[in-house]
Subunit: 210 residues, 2 copies
Amino acid sequence: MDKKISSAVIKRLPRYYRYLSELLDQEIDRISSQELSKQMNVTASQIRQDLNNFGGFGQQGYGYNVEILKGEIGKILGLDRQYQVIILGAGNLGQALANYVGFERRGFIVSAIFDIDKKKIGQPVGNLKVYDMAELPQYVEENSVDIAALTLPKAKAPEVAKELDKMGVHAFWNFAATDLDLPSEAVVENVHLAESLMRLSYNIANPVKK
Amino acid sequence: MDKKISSAVIKRLPRYYRYLSELLDQEIDRISSQELSKQMNVTASQIRQDLNNFGGFGQQGYGYNVEILKGEIGKILGLDRQYQVIILGAGNLGQALANYVGFERRGFIVSAIFDIDKKKIGQPVGNLKVYDMAELPQYVEENSVDIAALTLPKAKAPEVAKELDKMGVHAFWNFAATDLDLPSEAVVENVHLAESLMRLSYNIANPVKK
DNA sequence: TAGATTGTTAATCGATTAACAATC
DNA sequence: TAGATTGTTAATCGATTAACAATC
């Protein structure tokens, strides 16, 4: 019965969540769709439509309670639980992700980082040690793993993802410059930095004319 | 006269570019929209519509020449020139970006990295040294800077961006978890990793039902 | 109660897909 | 020439915006 939520809506939810968090930090406890729309540069109509995909969180004549709304969006986004994350590839980016404490605060716990490079194996990264990629199957068997972050070369990423999927890890945060091509149950969120940079260069090369 | 290209199209261009690069690596020199559509999992119609925003790059009865098409998309994306990039914030992410050689290959040259932390200033990052943020105005004056990558805390990012904009740097690759709010001529490409992770968790928490 | 603002339906706008004539 | 495939118009689909009755 639940009607499918469009991906356009889902893309916007984290931004609502961010703005609500900031309002809460400022100890603002209620907000109208109109006021929020001004701050976020979207239409009030869109905010109300988006939120009403999930239920009526507001109150006529009053607006939305910031704390409650933040909580509801958090639940929708699945932020009311913890996720165990492993990182595949201990290069610069993998290490940066491992060291980023912000993720931990939001419930994404990096529990291990793997590499194939003998020079890296055993080295410390944050308060972890780099594991040998060869130990991956055993690790996944013995530990609960919710998300695999792929920060390895594009040539390796699809096969490692496929193996992980077979081992029972079905959610991927993919930083490799390639598509993963996994069975449809798998969940993939791509972060293609090179593509992001190309969009930036497009907008530099093609300025909007006045 | 040029009709405005929708951002949906622009978002797809880098992916076309990536697939064409791979075809070229495989020494495939022609491809039809239908064959490409199969590989990329999009409709052939969409590919032809997208490309025809920019001109007729194909040939009836033949398809598209891979090398020529890649070159044309590269030009559209502004990849036929070099960009001087500076990085603001020498944390884990800033260092990872500075060390990532892939960008250099595509014409994005990281020429300097800045931080405010005395312990980091002067330290080597790749083959650069971390500059004192206080030297930023002088650096920008004396060197050409096309893009500023912002990998600093969200509390600092908007003000640093505003200063850079005033100094004449108008393109921002923003990794800080905040919106920048700059004059409309400025070009901003956001990479909000926390939001990306939330979309992943949404899709874990709300599996598509069969 | 009067005023404010939501929730929701209807109207508009834009993007995607389908179809096919043009043409290599 | 015949076959293939583009470029482009038309049809469909979906997302955004507008409007307003419901209601706090």
